[in-house]
Amino acid sequence: MTQDTPLLDIRSLSVSFPRYDQRVRVLDRVSFSVGRGAFVGLVGESGSGKTLSSLTTMGFLPPSARVDGGEIWLNGQNLLALSPEEMSKVRGRKVAMIFQSTRSALNPMMRAGDQVARAIRIQKGVGRKEAYAEAVQLLRQVGIADAEKRARAYPHQLSGGMCQRVLVAMMLACRPSLLIADEPTTGLDVTIQAQIFEMIREVQRETGASILLITHDLGVVAETCQRVVVMYAGQIMESASVASLFARPLHPYTRMLMGSVLRVDRRVEPPGAASVMKEEVTYGIVGCRFAPRCPVALPVCWEQKPQAEVVENDHQVACHNWRGVHGTGH
């Protein structure tokens, strides 16, 4: 395993859900990777499948979901091939997740300190007293002032931001190689947002973990991530370094997302015509699922899913007609 091998490598993952008597392929041949020590952002609209990808990685698929194909490689193991017992060993140590809903992710009947202490006890095998002391330390580390007092509090007595910090502390205790943060700042103040991200960066500095940040907010990605992966309707549209993506968005969807960033000196279709994504149509398309809303769609787009094409070093785009947006293309 060389340094270049990505930590997380999702290859052609497909997941379907039942809808009445059919199955809807919510994730369609999704492929992306997260390098060691990297900070990658997974961007897309709600319903694009970003959370589902991470849930699948963690092994938290709801019972009605089915993996139709693909592999998830984490540190030399195909997570999809593991049994539930093996998977539970992988969780925590190798990959951990911070969820969107902060307070509900904590046990309402356990004090904050006890919950972190429990994580420490299980992961490190130390005794109760030692674990609790360490827990208080961790809470201090994630920026909770007056940690001893807060440790005795119950989740409903803590603010949303503090709950999130407690969660991060629990994850820190596990020292995962990959930390997935799913919309960690939804519903939180902008000022708290900044603090949460700083805290996540701190986690990375301290543990060397890779971070996969899931968000719908391009602005957040621009400020915090090194790489970006753009997702739409269960398909990967584009992936690049942050600098490259913002300098030169290639995919029509990315360009639509960056709507206000469109340059005045280029002639591009305004995104106006794109109404709400029609699920029945979109999920049934064999080719590129953005086709119905795409201003430069070609007939082939409907029938054949575009392969990811490497345009520059690390800038990949999956589109038959990405040049059509740029004219002659730089």
Partner: protein, 298 residues
């Protein structure tokens, strides 16, 4: 160039899956308990309506020569201590029990929903008082309350209906009030934005359909409980008395025969009670599953 072609999803048969009828049918199909309940209920209803004209024996006709015969081809449910055919009595009893059950629910639903809407919409002191009253009524187990009221009012069918209905009204009041309160939250802002004097009646009409679904679920369950309560009271000798063929009465009459080994005189009427209540409960439970918000996600 934007392609005009719209690709039909795989396996689609011309949009039939989007029709409400199809979706309703699919939901029904995936809830076998609902179907089972409906089938049993249909049988019971059929027996109730057509039964009395189909059974050959008169329910009150005694035939001492043929007393206490075990189930046979002539008497599928056997005969009782007076020689009466049990099947005929059960079939005639169906009318009475179902009549009582539906009357009880009609009254409880009617009064309960009205009071609940009033209480939820107007709020304030009236709401407080109504809530305290429902608390008090609910402080009595419903069977005990019905028992006390029937004991005082006297043994007659209307009295039984009133007694049981009184015990059920609070459930509908609470349910409706809850719906109204949450609808008030939602529609209030909407109404405020509308032309200032928006007619509250319009909101009433909006609220009513929303409340109906949980009320319907509760009503179905209450139908089952009513049969159990009414027959329980009759078994104790309250409300409906022999020789009127009511299922509870039949069980009571038959209970004396158990010790001497004639199990069928009390078993069949009781089994029918349980079966009917079971059907209502199946339907009510499935209805609740189907109409609860989580189902809509599918």
């Amino acid at each position: 160039m934007v392609s005009e072609a719209v690709v039909k999803p795989k396996g689609e048969r011309g949009g039939v899956r989007d029709s409400r009828a199809w979706r309703t049918w699919y939901v029904l199909r995936s809830h076998p308990s609902m179907i089972a309940g409906l089938v049993v209920l249909a049988i019971v209803l059929f027996v109730t309506i057509a039964g009395p004209s189909l059974v050959p024996y008169k329910p009150l006709k005694t035939d001492p020569e043929n007393r206490l015969l075990p189930p046979s081809a002539m008497h599928p449910m056997g005969t009782d201590a007076f020689g009466r055919d049990i099947l005929s009595r059960v079939v005639h009893g169906a009318r009475l029990d179902l009549f009582i059950a539906f009357s009880v629910v009609a009254i409880a639903l009617g009064i309960g929903v009205l009071v609940g809407m009033f209480s939820g919409y107007y709020g304030g002191k009236a709401d407080d008082i109504i809530m305290r009253i429902t608390d008090v009524i609910l402080a009595f187990p419903s069977f005990i309350l019905a028992l006390a009221i029937t004991a005082i009012l006297g043994n007659s069918i209307p009295n039984v209906i009133i007694a049981i209905a009184v015990a059920y009204i609070p459930y509908f009041v609470r349910l409706t009030r809850g719906e109204v309160l949450s609808a008030k939250e939602r529609d209030y802002a909407e109404a405020a934005r509308c032309v200032g004097n928006s007619n509250w009646r319009i909101i009433y009409l909006h609220l009513l359909p929303n409340c109906l679904t949980p009320a319907l679920v509760q009503a179905t369950l209450c139908l089952g409980w009513a049969i159990l309560d009414a027959s329980g009271l009759a078994f104790l000798g309250l409300g409906i008395r022999p020789p009127t063929p009511e299922w509870g009465v039949l069980v009571s009459e038959g209970s004396r025969d158990i010790i001497s080994g004639q199990w069928w005189t009390s078993f069949f009427p009781g089994a029918v009670i349980v079966l009917t209540a079971f059907a209502f409960n199946l339907i009510g439970d499935s209805l609740r599953d189907v109409t609860s918000p989580t189902e809509a996600v599918q």
